[in-house]
């Protein structure tokens, strides 16, 4: 990338009126994305945003790039096909917890497994926004919604854990309210070659207001958020005095200073799948902080690169014309 961006934030703002509820967390995510993009690309015509259906999935309409608002849950398939057809494009997929994990779960896990070079932004508000407030596969057990007046009965997914279980090569988590962090995750996703999965906690102030209140409340958040930095110890808390250790194979939160010193605290290693799994398991667990940042990152050949290689290799085969192919095999002449 050039040092000075040639494009401005406004270049990424489309002329469409934004249709989210006032106060929706989606606004912040949109704004940060529009802010970061001038830094990460010089050609907005090479950028494509693809989404499914949901409040979050309206995102492409507001980005002044190419965009495709597809159908519910199926955006990964469209994105994969596009990337297959033109691997030079920078393809971004925007989805919600319902779109991505309920109806679209299968496409998402296959995308992650294949490692197509696509960046996924999953807006997790733990609710169905667009259809007005049913519980989603990330809603907490017992959630009372229109469709579960006595409380939901199904245990939620932990999105980053599912992504890891799907062989995701880049798995990160951030939140709508942490603007700088959100930006940096978008940058990191862009840098990663392969499928990048960012879970973004997003407040739906209409149907699930305050779902992440403890993570955004000034008073509590320092004790609730664990910012991950590669190579740095996993410490958190208002006074930076809490840390994570492994007691055998069981993680624990400990206080630094008394029984434990900073040396005892686990050091984050983005390439360590076991650590990644441990961290993803903290999702919504009352005894652990929520880790924000890159949970796992490890490059491996992408689907598109390997496809390119095969295409090039195939081109080394003796060339044939259409007529050669039509005339191949045993033929005979009738006079």
């Amino acid at each position: 990338m050039s040092e000075k961006p040639t494009l401005k934030k406004s270049d990424f703002q489309s002329d469409q009126a934004i249709r989210w509820c006032p106060g929706c967390g989606d606004y912040a995510i949109l704004a940060q994305t529009q802010k970061v993009f001038p830094e990460i690309t010089e050609k907005k015509e090479d950028t494509v945003f693809i989404s499914g259906i949901g409040c979050s999935s309206r995102f492409p309409y507001y980005m002044n790039t190419y965009g495709f608002h597809t159908i519910h849950g199926r955006a990964p398939t469209v994105a994969s096909g596009l990337k297959l057809a033109n691997p030079d494009l920078s393809v971004w997929l925007v989805t919600g917890d319902g779109d991505g994990f309920s109806i679209g779960g299968n496409h998402l896990i296959h995308l992650l497994r294949r490692n197509v070079n696509i960046n996924v932004m999953l807006f997790n508000n733990r609710i169905y926004g667009l259809t007005k407030g049913q519980y989603s596969p990330t809603s907490e057990l017992g959630k009372v919604t229109y469709s579960t007046p006595m409380g939901s009965l199904d245990y939620p997914f932990k999105p980053t854990q599912l992504a890891l279980g799907s062989q995701g090569s880049f798995v990160a988590k951030t939140i709508d309210k942490e603007l700088k962090h959100l930006q940096s995750m978008i940058r990191r996703a862009n840098d990663h070659n392969g499928t990048s999965f960012i879970e973004i906690y997003q407040n739906c102030n209409i149907f699930n207001d305050g779902a992440f209140g403890n993570l955004t409340d000034r008073d509590t958040k320092a004790d609730q958020l664990l910012y991950l930095e590669n190579g740095e110890p996993m410490i958190f808390g208002n006074d930076k005095n809490k840390g994570i250790i492994l007691d055998g194979t069981r993680p624990k939160v400990v206080e630094i200073g008394k029984k434990y010193s900073i040396e005892d605290i686990l050091v984050h290693d983005e390439t360590d799948s076991l650590l990644a799994n441990m961290l993803s398991n903290f999702t919504a667990e009352p005894d652990f902080p929520e880790p924000l940042g890159v949970i796992y990152c490890s490059e491996r050949p992408t689907y598109d690169d390997m496809m390119n290689e095969q295409m090039l290799k195939a081109k080394e085969q003796p060339s044939q014309t259409l007529d050669d192919m039509l005339n191949a095999g045993d033929t005979w002449q009738v006079k």
Partner: protein, 616 residues
């Protein structure tokens, strides 16, 4: 050798090879076909696979067969009742004997009639010994396993592999009876098993053993000659529907200079399209085995958005899954070709049998007013032209299109006059050009003639735009909840499909241009309807035959043609789906002839029914 052998000339012969799945019947059939083609016969073939991968050896469920009809005249079907049945084991005999013409020739591998095999086939007594066969058929019980064992003595091969050559022995016997050259088969063996000289040797010996058996055994009193057919002059090859479909796609790529992205999910009988195209990467064809059929069409649509021709293929149940995405393709007006190789339905149905029952699904299987072009191939070789045309129309009109073939077309084959790529319709693609203007790009601006919207692809500067499944304002492409615009767009989408009628050449009528009865067929019923028409014409009936390729839209001249006949009959392998559409469109009391038996309706059935209708 001293024996006197008559030579008799026949117009046409139908042979059915039948045996256990492991007996190599598809190979015998294939080689007989190739030789018939080289000899210059017209021909038509019909393989029939068991539903199981490998049913237990010798079981009824494991019987596999291959039928070839070859002739010195033009033919259009793989024949109905075979003249010759080759049965490599008791199960094959049990399954197929009832189809053999009475007095027909029966050739049996005597060695396979072991007590175990007889029991598996459900025979109480050995039919080759209890005298039940000789009365009705010219039966030949040949010890093929023994023949090949002797023929391969001295070759360094396991007994199991030697036993496997018996299909070439059977082939040799038939080559002798029908006076065919062995060289093409020997050449083929040589190139196929290049690195395995023992295999070549064993198979060649087995082939010769069969041939010589015919020559020396006293059993066959007559040899038959089926002369070259008078086919239109040209260069020919034997062509099956799957390869023809793939070549049609390849032709689209080569003529248009577009890239093609094929995304599909395996399903019988469509999987082979994926397999074949996977080998054609050097032509810029990319293939993607998706996680399911929904992902298949989704990826094809994504590719189309990116400026590639998106193609997907499946069969009935898989097509059902694509309905929602077809709607999105339609409303975003992008070119995606959806190939349905039909099979028996509903649900999983009869996966290895052919049927024409997905026509309603093709025309109507989506939510909303969702008009989609539908085109159907009529013969294995015609799959080439149909697929090519489908691609051309999809791009020219910016629309999804459904291509209907079926299991019979896909697996069947016929001699195919090789077209010259120059003679194919022109196929032009224009993407919108980079724009420096400050005006917003208008993705739903349309071509005045076709109503196709312009195609602006990601990567092109200045044309950034957003599309999607919510109703779009015409021209601007913005999301619009306006009811007048919705009504307008609903009509435009329909009109666009209607406009395709301009691309359809005048309908050809075979036989009488006016008369008592029109036989209207679509898809693979073509062959039997043509044969039936020929017979009816010979019997002086005033009939004509129209073979429909386009089902949505119908050709503009079809309505007039229908009125030239007192009655219209529509033979279909379904409960009357085209019949329903024709009735609705033209308000004529078309009569359905419906036989749903997993194979094309026999020409004789059609002839009988037509005579009844006319004579009644």
């Amino acid at each position: 050798m001293a024996k006197k052998v008559n030579k008799e000339t026949l117009d046409n012969v139908t042979i059915r090879f039948a045996g256990d799945s492991g007996d190599g019947m598809q190979l015998s059939g294939g080689r007989f076909t190739q030789t018939a083609a080289i000899v210059g016969n017209d021909l038509s073939t019909l393989p029939d696979f068991p539903a199981e991968i490998r049913a237990p050896a010798g079981s009824l469920a494991g019987v596999s067969s291959f039928q070839i009809h070859f002739s010195s005249q033009e033919i259009h079907t793989p024949g109905e009742q075979p003249d010759v049945l080759v049965a490599m084991n008791p199960a094959a005999l049990k399954v197929h004997l009832s189809d053999l013409k009475s007095g027909g020739t029966l050739i049996v591998n005597k060695n396979a009639f072991t007590p175990k095999n007889l029991k598996l086939a459900g025979y109480e007594t050995d039919p080759t010994e209890d005298g039940t066969l000789e009365d009705y058929y010219q039966s030949h019980f040949i010890e093929m396993s023994k023949l090949v064992k002797n023929a391969c003595e001295g070759i360094d091969l396991s007994p199991k592999l030697v036993e496997r050559t018996k299909n070439l022995c059977a082939l040799g016997v038939l080559f002798w009876i029908y006076d065919r050259p062995l060289e093409p088969t020997i050449d083929w063996l040589k190139s196929k098993f290049k690195s395995k000289p023992e295999i070549i040797k064993a198979n060649t010996n087995a082939l010769n053993a069969g041939y010589n058996y015919g020559d020396t055994a006293e059993l066959f009193t007559t040899r038959y000659v089926v002369e070259k057919a008078k086919l239109p002059a040209g260069k020919y090859r034997n062509m099956n529907g799957t390869l023809a479909t793939c070549l049609g796609l390849l032709a689209a790529v080569e003529k248009s200079k577009m890239s093609l992205t094929f995304a599909g999910y395996p399903i019988t009988p469509a999987s082979n399209i994926l397999h074949t195209l996977s080998n054609w990467k050097k032509f810029g064809i990319k293939t993607f085995q998706a996680e399911d059929e929904i992902a298949g069409i989704g990826a094809a649509l994504g590719a189309a958005f990116g400026g590639s021709l998106g193609v997907t293929a499946s069969s009935g149940p898989g097509i059902a899954l694509k309905g929602e995405f077809l709607g999105l393709t339609l409303i975003t007006e992008l070119p995606v070709v959806v190939i349905n190789v039909q099979r028996g339905g509903p649900s999983t149905g009869l996966p290895t049998k052919t049927e024409q029952s997905d026509l309603f699904q093709a025309v109507y299987g989506r939510n909303g007013d969702a008009p989609t072009p539908v085109i159907a191939a009529t013969t294995p070789g015609d799959c080439f032209f149909t697929t090519y045309e489908a691609c051309r129309i999809a791009v020219k009109y910016m629309t999804p299109i459904i291509v209907l073939t079926d299991g019979y077309l896909a697996n069947g084959s016929e001699p195919w006059m090789i077209p010259n790529s120059k003679d194919l319709n022109d196929f032009e693609v224009t993407f919108e050009k980079e724009s420096e203007s400050e005006d917003k790009h208008q993705p739903y601006k349309r071509n005045k003639d076709t109503l196709a919207r312009n195609w602006a692809i990601p990567g092109t500067k200045g044309l950034e735009h957003r599309i999607g499944g919510i109703e779009k304002e015409n021209v601007s492409g913005n999301v619009s909840y306006d009811s007048d615009n919705h009504e307008l767009m609903t009509h435009i989408r329909a009109q666009k499909v209607a406009n395709i009628a301009n691309e359809i050449p005048p309908t050809e009528v075979f036989g009488k241009k006016k008369g008592d009865l029109l036989i209207l067929s679509w898809g693979s019923t073509h062959g039997s309807c043509k044969v039936a028409t020929e017979q009816l014409l010979e019997d002086k009936y005033k009939v004509g035959h129209v073979s429909l390729k386009w089902i949505n839209p119908f050709p503009s001249d079809l309505g007039k043609i229908l009125l030239n006949y007192k009655k219209v009959i529509i033979p279909e392998i379904n409960r009357g789906q085209l019949c329903y559409l024709i009735r609705a469109q033209y308000l004529i009391d078309a009569i359905g002839l419906n036989e749903i038996k997993g194979k094309p309706i026999g020409a004789s059935t059609i002839v009988k029914k037509c005579k009844e209708i006319i004579d009644e």
